[in-house]
Symmetry: C2
């Protein structure tokens, strides 16, 4: 188990999971949750500003969530506190093989809850070329070592 | 078609769509994208801090996206610019009937692109009691009236 003390500001965490984006999955997610032409139809997407099918933001967030669960380290997380500054930098397209990386931006002891600390990460979704496609800042509440199980 | 000029700061937009959350859907989304016990298993969820199954944040974002598409008004949107300040205020549970509301927080002409304007909305996901469960701030680029089709 990893605790508040086990992460340093500036440290990058990598995760072993990979997710290959397919046209079928882009269309399936979009049809249910974000039915826009450049997510749903190859021909309409080709004529859009994207020049081809691209994954919806629902899909990117879902893939990021899934890949974060591929962390073999177990963290003493009490709660997620929120997310901010979500940015789509570049589209994800069929055939892209995605992975996640987290960079610790800040850490501080909780002002109100002794034994706990707040850690902020930039969570990044990258393609097979190492380009950051999508990113956000996530704050989590972690236990300090020896503070509960 | 509605343009940059057609929204005022403080104005609330409502949408006709409703989405009823089911246990089966909570489990289906979580199994694919966010496999945590309080999203996946009734008994484990009952013993968690939530006291029962709750929808994952991937699910809440997906439902919000879907309900935003129920807007009968067509807006002259050029692009989404990003999201910030995502907050989960309260969980969504099976049987909840959700809707969305957007409140215009700010609007300004684009500094770099004549004929376009930036509008910021707080997008809120509410349950059948009118409680805000989940919210974020979304910035969009809209055309001004008479600037292109």
């Amino acid at each position: 188990m990893k605790y508040f003390e086990d992460i340093a500001v500036g440290q990058a965490l990598t995760y072993p999971g990979r997710h290959e984006v397919t046209a079928a999955e882009i269309i399936r997610i979009a049809a249910e949750w974000d039915p826009q032409p450049f997510h749903l139809d190859e021909e309409a997407a080709r004529l859009s500003i994207f020049g081809g099918l691209v994954a919806s933001s629902v899909h990117l967030f879902a893939i990021t969530s899934k890949l974060c669960h591929s962390d073999p380290e177990k963290w003493a997380t009490v709660s997620a506190l929120g997310m901010r500054e979500i940015r789509s930098h570049a589209p994800a397209r069929p055939g892209d093989r995605l992975e996640v990386r987290s960079i610790c931006l800040d850490k501080r002891p909780s002002a109100s809850r002794p034994g706990l600390g707040v850690v902020e990460f930039e969570v990044q979704l990258l393609n097979q070329k190492g380009e950051v496609l999508y990113a956000y800042v996530s704050a989590v509440l972690l236990r300090m070592r020896g503070q509960g199980d």
